[in-house]
Symmetry: none
Subunit: 121 residues, 4 copies
Amino acid sequence: MLIEIDFRDKRPIYEQISAKLEELILCGVIGADESLPSVRSLAVELSINPNTIQKAYDNLEQRGFCYSVAGRGRFATGVAEVMPERRREFFAEVDDLLKKAATLKVEKDELIRYVGENYAG
Amino acid sequence: MLIEIDFRDKRPIYEQISAKLEELILCGVIGADESLPSVRSLAVELSINPNTIQKAYDNLEQRGFCYSVAGRGRFATGVAEVMPERRREFFAEVDDLLKKAATLKVEKDELIRYVGENYAG
Amino acid sequence: MLIEIDFRDKRPIYEQISAKLEELILCGVIGADESLPSVRSLAVELSINPNTIQKAYDNLEQRGFCYSVAGRGRFATGVAEVMPERRREFFAEVDDLLKKAATLKVEKDELIRYVGENYAG
Amino acid sequence: MLIEIDFRDKRPIYEQISAKLEELILCGVIGADESLPSVRSLAVELSINPNTIQKAYDNLEQRGFCYSVAGRGRFATGVAEVMPERRREFFAEVDDLLKKAATLKVEKDELIRYVGENYAG
DNA sequence: GTGGTCTAGACCACA
DNA sequence: GTGGTCTAGACCACA
């Protein structure tokens, strides 16, 4: 399932897992209403306690990336539905970075040039 | 001393303090080789445990923003000296954001326009 | 049959089905002593496990919305018969909401005005 | 601390706890920035596993009723800050009830009279 | 099988 | 002491 845990990563395990699944949903690898691996199967696959997987999924669901159906499983939310909120968050991050740019005296032109040259579409 | 603790902030207290001092040094409010407040005085001023202040200073020193002289106190590093490393970190953050932009389908033009319009020099 | 399952709905499937049937009976779409679809046919129609449909019907019957005749099928109870109990439940819910109104400091006048303006007969 | 668990209640324990604390915060018994009992102390007091208390608090925090400070404890959010969202939720519940009223043929006048007579300010 | 809740107990960073 | 994370293992409702 393309998920790997990095134990040196400072982020908690559950967050690494939910972040990775978030990415897979956003980039379309997991399509709308497609089922996610079950708590138990993912726990076995990653050798992680089911409670931790559950927490990762709770996290994901709370942020709107999936929904669960009792007795059936868990399914990905459609990308279109989640995008707007994600984009809002993205630009909030850009705002933070722009503030940082100011204190570091990174000029507007320099920043724009950098973005232009390093944008990887 | 212009430092305020926000208890709602998810970052630990010691990190908030070191981040704030970092900013004061970067933007020149605290000049090169100027002395920083003592652990004790800052602890009293902020009503924070001295151990926490100590940890903030350790953090700051470890990242090169200040140096301590035994028996004399702690002093700010010159901005010129710290800048290059900070800028390197800044552009690494920009790189991260550019990756994110790709998965969120934020177009190059859109991003550059946004930066242009919201840059606050 | 006008029944649609919403997998995003947090309620279990059997409850969604019984709630929908309850509504159809209350509003008269399914009249008194009219037959309800068989477990099997509804299971096929909704692509839902027959056990789940059975559970929905058990739920419905237990709350007095239908009765089953051995070998003949299941039939809707007359609205007149069910109404009083439903209304009692309804006003119990209103009571709960009134308590909530108090703790949220929603004034009596405000609440009455709201009801008046948003009542959709 | 005025919290009692009802094991016959169908709601999970963690939800009963967070609901009760929510109420205590909303009605002002626990004031703004006042500390909530620690996970461990509440666990002992209620004879409930600390993990369950933690979950109750996570729930509460996620809904904006409190915030936690690493190493310090957990504190109530000011009522004023939480109210608007709560009121929005309240009126959404009223809307649901109004729909129900329609299917149950509870007349507008009857409902308004009922609210008027049973409002307990 | 699938998600959700809960207990018991451990360990870590932070204050 | 305080919150946060994690493992191990059990039990329940739902499908």
